[in-house]
Each structure stands twice: as structure tokens, then as C-alpha cells.
């Protein structure tokens, strides 16, 4: 098992190299010049050229990439074109914020989604089932943007229970967390429902019932573990979606996270920021995938890694 983990971790390196190279090239080929954007109305040709030289953008592409890798190996992600701040510092705060938000959304989505899915799956075609699935359809269809603003309007402006924007306390995580979790919660509920339905049809469940196991234990001790396997896959993908998809939620709630940093960086052609953020996403995804794969072994004893 340990050997497997080490091998997987080592495989992350070529993935990061590939990702960083592709991002590096792509962003430089998109039309638009960071120096010119930064200067705005103060544009002069000399100023643009001076800035580009300062940022090393006048060197050949491969040299630029080489320099970038060199810096990376020393743990330096470069300096943001817009703010002059080291990227690692900007990323650290933003990553923490987005991670908190994503975890809250993931927890809400998992707990409520799975619970709803199980309730619906164990009472198919009942009223509870219909209601839960209607809720799931709503969760998948409602635009994140609208949901966020409606929640803000109800709970912050009208009721004054929660703050409208910003970050800092647990209260600030509630509305953005709910907003971000909606889509995933609905997906998990539906997936859980079908998974539970499928498992409950299995012969071994009938056997358990015949043995006299209570319905509650049938569910919790026999069915759940098998039903969870597809759910775990969904959750793995979910973390990815939540980390990347938090952009809209972050914008609506003025929540200073990575999504907003990436979008602003892209708009301003802030090469170091875009490279840094995407690299961080790549690392996170790789690690999350590893954890998801390993957790299969927990749920299904037939799976073993060596």
C-alpha cells in the first residue's frame, strides 16, 4: 500500500509539468498584452516595452518557461503583475478561503444529499421520494448566481440574520456555502437514490431480511457500504467542481477566494497569477483523486493496492 501511495505521488510530477507547460503557452497565445492593460489610459509605447522587459516577457518563450521552472523548484511562484506581491502569499490566503468554502459546501452537499437520497431510495415513489427528487431538480436547475442573490436578499437584507458579503467568521460561510452546495447536493441526492435502489434489489439484501435483520440494520450495515462506491466517485469529482466552480459564488458574495483571483488574473493577462492558480488546482485535484482511490479500498475489501 505504501509503495502504491509513493508511486502515485511521484506520478503527480509529470502531470504538473504537463499542466504548467500547457497553461504557460496557452495564456501567452491569447491576444492581449498585460502591460498595455495595466497602463490603461497612460499608455505609451516606451512604457509598455519597459514593463515587458521588467517582467521578462521580451525573452524567447522557452527561456521564459525555463526561468519559471527554475523559480518553481525554489518554491517561488513569481510576482503578480498587477499588485507586485509574491504569488505564493496571494495564493495562500485565497486558497485557504476557497478551501474553507469548498469544504463547507462539500459537507452540506454530502450530508444532506446522501440523507435525502437514502430516504428517497428506501421509499421509492412515495411522497418523500417525489418531494426529494423535485428538490433535486430545482437544485440542479437554479442558477447559482440567482440563488446566491436571493439568499442574500432574504437573510441579509430583510432578516439581518447573516452578513451579506465578505469573509472572516463562520457566519460568512453560511450563505455562500449553501449557494455553492446546491448543485452538488442535488446531484448526490439523485445518485444516492439510484445507487440505493439498485443495491436494495440485490439478493444478499433479501437474505439479510430473511435472517431477521431489522430494516434499519439492513440499510446501515449491509446496503450502505456498497451503495457508497459510486457516491465516492461523485464526491471526488465534486471537490474539483467546487474548487473551480466557486468563482460565481465568490463574485456574488465578494468572498476573496481563488476563483476570483483566477478570473481577474485571466482578464488582466496576469501570467504569473494564472500559472500559479492552475498549478495549485492541479496539485489539489491529483491529491484528491489519490484520496478517493484509496478510500475505495476502505469500502470494498475486494479492492487492494500494492
Amino acid at each position: 500500500m505504501t509503495a502504491y501511495i509513493i508511486r502515485r505521488l511521484l506520478l503527480v510530477i509529470p502531470v504538473l509539468l504537463g499542466v504548467s507547460f500547457i497553461v504557460f503557452l496557452t495564456i501567452r497565445f491569447i491576444p492581449g498584452d498585460p502591460a498595455e492593460i495595466l497602463l490603461g489610459e497612460d499608455y505609451t509605447q516606451e512604457a509598455v516595452e519597459a514593463l515587458r522587459a521588467e517582467w521578462g516577457l521580451d525573452k524567447p518563450l522557452l527561456i521564459q518557461y525555463g526561468l519559471f521552472l527554475g523559480q518553481l523548484l525554489r518554491g517561488n511562484l513569481g510576482i503578480s503583475i498587477r499588485s507586485g506581491q509574491p504569488i505564493t502569499r496571494e495564493l495562500a490566503v485565497r486558497f485557504k478561503n476557497t478551501l474553507q468554502l469548498a469544504l463547507v459546501a462539500a459537507a452540506l452537499a454530502s450530508v444532506i444529499g446522501i440523507a435525502a437520497g437514502v430516504i428517497a431510495g428506501t421509499r421509492p415513489f412515495s411522497l418523500m421520494d417525489m418531494l426529494t427528487m423535485a428538490g433535486a431538480v430545482a437544485g440542479v436547475s437554479i442558477p447559482v448566481f440567482w440563488l446566491g442573490l436571493m439568499l442574500m436578499y432574504a437573510f441579509a437584507v430583510k432578516l439581518h440574520w447573516l452578513p451579506a458579503v465578505g469573509v472572516g467568521t463562520v457566519k460568512h460561510l453560511v450563505l455562500p456555502g449553501i449557494t455553492l452546495s446546491a448543485f452538488t447536493m442535488a446531484t448526490i441526492a439523485r445518485q444516492t437514490r439510484s445507487s440505493v435502489l439498485e443495491v436494495m434489489e440485490q439478493d444478499y439484501i433479501t437474505t439479510a431480511r430473511s435472517k431477521g435483520v431489522t430494516e434499519k440494520n439492513v440499510l446501515l450495515r449491509h446496503a450502505i457500504k456498497n451503495a457508497m462506491i459510486p457516491i465516492i466517485t461523485v464526491q471526488g469529482v465534486m471537490i474539483g467542481r467546487l474548487l473551480g466552480g466557486s468563482i460565481i459564488t465568490e463574485t456574488v458574495f465578494a468572498y476573496p477566494g481563488m476563483g476570483k483571483l483566477l478570473i481577474d488574473g485571466l482578464m488582466g493577462r496576469n501570467y504569473p497569477v494564472v500559472q500559479g492558480v492552475i498549478l495549485l488546482y492541479a496539485v489539489t485535484f491529483s491529491l484528491v483523486n489519490l484520496v478517493v482511490d484509496l478510500s475505495y479500498a476502505l469500502f470494498d475489501p475486494r479492492i487492494a493496492y500494492d
Partner: protein
């Protein structure tokens, strides 16, 4: 009661009344923490290197300038420079500085500091291109500075442009020029405490401010990019001031008794530029026809709820040297006639490029303009481009420039015609600038340069009057409107004003407690 007692009663009554009326919060109170919601975060707390006008109002609470504009009249005011003289050829400027002013770190503000700052601006400032007429700076004595420039009459107006702010030389030396942004030190009414990127900037009152301690104890500036969220935060009371709100929020916030709309005289001229060297646009009649074809009043009423100001001159009428002209009233028949006269009775095909979201209601206005042009026979293709890519196209020289009609805006930051006419300068065609109007007029250029070299304001006005009329008549662009400049605040925040350059004036702000 006896007469005497009545008198006492009446007088006491009046005294009480007077006391309650004045006590009803009209007397500025000290203390409080004002929270401002802005559209974008402050990119860099280094005034020589900050870009974008949006947050300069906040930065200028910490860092001040040599001159300033009055927030309402746009009049040029002395500030850190209390008076000045200029040589008749507009090349030598002698500034007398305020005495006894100190930076927040107790470094004295003096001529040496001014020299240091201007030299830093010219060396590493992002906007140094706009100050390239400065040739040298001399600190003659402790409070007198002499600046030598190429002939440039509007120099004192240019010094109101934020990149020429005065920062503490000690702080720059201490942190290093590249890291100065981490803790800026100026002479302003508020002292910088911290900037948590993406979350807030925090300032506290400068107890020793040279114009008297400001009323507020603290000012917090938070970026809230989404306009709906910004308006919601204002209504919820999470912030006291919301900057830059589009006109759709005006009715809602005016109806709310706790909030109030702040309007400033706007200064950002929005227009549809024409590539004057492309096909039909070489002909003045075609360009004028384009102006007659658009119903600007209808655009203002329906898209901006009447909050915009129709352009009556190439730049805002607040600017020195701006003269209002007769607008091209909506007249599609006249437009068609002019087009026919110029040889285009059936119109022609043209592309209208715009960058959604860059300015207020860009998409809606572009679509409206396209539709008016189609009414007079043109075949218009609308093309939406991303801002960065747009910039690349705008910069291309006349041979390669693909732009024909394009939606843009120009803010006259120095409130001086010299800056206002920059767009039209025949000697600043791209790639020297990002304004592909490609206007060609030797006479205008001569008059423009003459106006620059003349220091007598009356003489300058004379030149600008002619230039205004000439440029307006030539119709190098389709003039539309000046973008509304609306902000909002809560009732308990007083003394909050908005300037025409979209920055906020908070020096006299106070909070009702």
C-alpha cells in the same frame, strides 16, 4: 401667568427648539468607523504605480497631491502647493509649499520630498508617460520648488492627476521601492494600517493632520465586485457607502428611507469612434450623418433612466477649455440625405466592435446604436470582444487596424482641454496611443500646440474655443453621452461627496452615532 413668566417660557421654548434642531445630527460628530464598498480592490497601495481611477478616492485619503479639484465645481485648488508662479513661456514653475506638514512617519514634507517624489514618478511610475514634459526639479529652499518643463500650460492641472502623489521618502528608502506598497505613508487625513487583499483596506485617523483631525476614527474599504451584492450590503447596513452603482438601483435606493443616492457631475464621455481613414468615414458628410442618425435622448431615457448627460462637446463641460456646441439632433431623414450626397444612397456594410461590461450598459447601448444605424440603411455587424483583445486591436497602426466603428469612453481626468483632446490628436495615432480615431487635421494640431505653449488662461481659452468648434463640426466620432456617476450612501453617513472623476471625497465625512 404674569407677562415676565410668559417671556421666560417663550425664550426657553425657542432655546429648546434651537437645541433640538441643531442636535438632530447636523453637527459633525467625532468617532465612528465608515465602511465603503467599492467595485474593485485596490491593486497596489503605491500611488506612483496604481492603475485605474476607481479607487483613487480611497488612496488619496492617505496620499495627497500638490493641487486638487473642487469636488463640485472642478475648480483648480492649491493643496500641498499653496501658491505658484509660472514663467510666460510655460516652462518654469515655481511652487510654494505648505509649511509645517508632516508625513505619517514624522518625516517633514518639504521641497526635497517633492523632488524625490517627482523623480520616483518619472523613473518607475506607471504613468510616467503622461508626465514626460518634466525636464528637471530643483529644491530651491525648504519650501520652494522650481520645476522646468517643456512648454505646457496645463501643468498645474496635471498635478491633480493621482500618480503625482507625495509619499514619504523615508518609507520608500526603508522598505525599498518595490515593496513600498506594503505600507504606504503619506500626508493625508487617514493613516494606512493594513490591506488584506480581496477583503479590505483599513485606515485610521491621522491625529496630526495639517488641516485638522478628521471626524472619523477609522475607514474600511471593501471590494464587492457584484453590483447587486454591493447594493444589498448597503441596504443591510453592512456598508455605509456603495461606490459606482448602475442607474437601475437608483429608484430602489431612493425609495429606501435609510439610503440616499449620490450624484456627481459625470466626466466620462462615451462615444462610438470611427476610423476616419476607413472607407466611407473619410468623408465628413458620412460622419455627420452617423451623428444625426442616433437618438441620444431616447438612449438616455430608456437605458440610463435619464441619469446620463448628453454630450454637448468633445469632453465634459466641467473641463477648462471645453465649450458646449449644438448637438446633432436626431434626424434620420437628414442622415440619409447626407449619406446619399456622399455617394452612399444604399448605405454600406460596417462592423461595430464593443467590449461588454467594460463601461455601464455597453452592450445595450451598442445594440441601440446599431439599430439606429440600420434604420438609415447601414448594414451593421455587432462584434463583442474581450477587453484585452480589444486593446490589442486598438493599438494597431492605420495600415493594419481592423476597427471601423467601436464603442469606447474617455475620462478627462485632469479636467483640462489639453487632456480632453488627446484622443483626437493627429500626431498621436496608434501605435502611439490606443485611440484609433485616426483624425487628420493639421490646423487643429497647430492650434493645439499653440494653446499648450501659452500661459495666459484667456489666450488658451481662445484657442480651445476654435478647436472645440472645429472638431465638433468635423464629427470624427459619434458623440453619445457622459456616463452617469452614481453612488449611494446610508443616511447616517454625512459629508460624503463624489467627484466628477468618479473618486470619492471623504475629507469631511462623519458618522452619526
Amino acid at each position: 401667568m404674569r407677562k415676565g413668566q410668559w417671556c421666560v417660557l417663550v425664550v426657553t421654548g425657542f432655546v429648546f427648539l434651537a437645541a433640538t434642531v441643531t442636535g438632530f445630527g447636523q453637527e459633525p460628530q467625532y468617532g465612528g468607523k465608515l465602511i465603503i464598498g467599492m467595485g474593485t480592490d485596490i491593486a497596489r497601495w503605491d500611488i506612483h504605480n496604481c492603475s485605474g481611477m476607481q479607487n483613487l478616492g480611497i488612496q488619496r485619503l492617505v496620499t495627497e497631491l500638490l493641487t486638487d479639484h473642487h469636488w463640485e465645481t472642478g475648480e483648480l485648488l492649491p493643496w500641498l502647493a499653496k501658491s505658484w508662479e509660472v514663467s510666460p513661456d510655460a516652462t518654469t514653475w515655481t511652487l510654494h509649499l505648505e509649511e509645517g506638514v508632516m508625513f505619517h512617519d514624522t518625516t517633514p514634507f518639504n521641497a526635497e520630498a517633492v523632488k524625490y517624489n517627482l523623480e520616483r514618478l518619472l523613473e518607475i511610475g506607471l504613468a510616467r508617460g503622461s508626465f514626460d514634459m518634466i525636464e528637471s526639479i530643483e529644491a530651491v529652499d525648504e519650501y520652494t520648488v522650481v520645476i522646468h518643463t517643456a512648454p505646457f500650460a496645463p501643468f498645474m492641472h496635471l498635478l491633480t492627476y493621482a500618480p503625482s502623489g507625495m509619499v514619504s521618502p523615508t518609507q520608500v528608502e526603508k522598505l525599498g521601492s518595490d515593496n513600498y506598497y506594503q505600507h504606504p505613508v503619506g500626508t493625508g487625513p487617514y493613516v494606512f494600517v493594513e490591506h488584506i487583499r480581496g477583503d479590505r483596506s483599513r485606515l485610521v485617523a491621522n491625529e496630526d493632520y495639517w488641516r485638522g483631525r478628521p471626524y472619523l476614527d477609522e475607514v474600511i474599504a471593501k471590494p464587492i465586485p457584484e453590483t447587486a451584492a454591493r447594493a444589498a450590503a448597503l441596504e443591510a447596513g453592512d456598508i455605509h457607502v456603495a461606490l459606482s452603482l448602475p442607474p437601475i438601483y437608483v429608484p430602489m435606493l431612493e425609495a429606501n428611507p435609510d439610503t440616499e443616492i449620490l450624484r456627481a457631475v459625470p466626466a466620462r464621455t462615451c462615444y462610438v469612434g470611427m476610423n476616419n481613414q476607413w472607407g466611407p468615414f473619410k468623408d465628413k458628410r458620412v460622419r455627420q450623418a452617423m451623428n444625426y442618425a442616433i437618438d441620444k435622448h431616447a438612449i438616455n431615457e430608456s437605458i440610463f433612466l435619464g441619469e446620463a448627460v448628453i454630450s454637448t462637446a468633445p469632453m465634459t463641460t466641467l473641463a477648462f477649455g471645453s465649450f458646449p456646441q449644438a448637438i446633432f439632433e436626431y434626424d434620420p431623414a437628414k442622415a440619409k440625405a447626407l449619406l446619399a450626397e456622399a455617394g452612399y444612397p444604399d448605405g454600406f456594410e460596417v462592423t461595430l466592435t464593443y467590449s461588454p461590461g467594460r463601461y455601464l450598459m455597453t452592450t445595450e447601448v451598442s445594440e441601440a446604436v446599431a439599430s439606429y444605424l440600420m434604420d438609415v440603411g447601414l448594414d451593421v455587424n455587432l462584434k463583442a470582444v474581450e477587453w484585452a483583445a480589444y486593446g490589442k486591436d486598438r493599438r494597431k497602426g492605420v495600415e493594419e487596424n481592423p476597427l471601423q466603428l467601436y464603442f469606447l469612453a474617455w475620462g478627462c481626468v485632469t479636467l483640462d482641454a489639453d487632456h480632453g483632446f488627446k484622443l483626437y490628436r493627429p500626431d498621436l495615432w496608434p501605435p502611439k496611443s490606443t485611440s484609433p480615431i485616426f483624425y487628420s487635421n493639421d490646423c487643429m494640431l497647430e492650434l493645439f500646440n499653440a494653446a499648450r505653449a501659452v500661459t495666459d488662461n484667456e489666450d488658451r481659452l481662445m484657442y480651445y474655443e476654435v478647436i472645440n468648434k472645429m472638431v465638433w463640426d468635423d464629427a470624427p466620432v459619434i458623440w453619445l453621452y457622459i456616463q452617469p456617476n452614481t453612488h449611494a450612501k446610508r443616511e447616517e453617513a454625512h459629508g460624503v461627496y463624489v467627484r466628477s472623476d468618479e473618486t470619492i471625497w471623504l475629507r469631511e465625512a462623519w458618522l452619526e452615532q
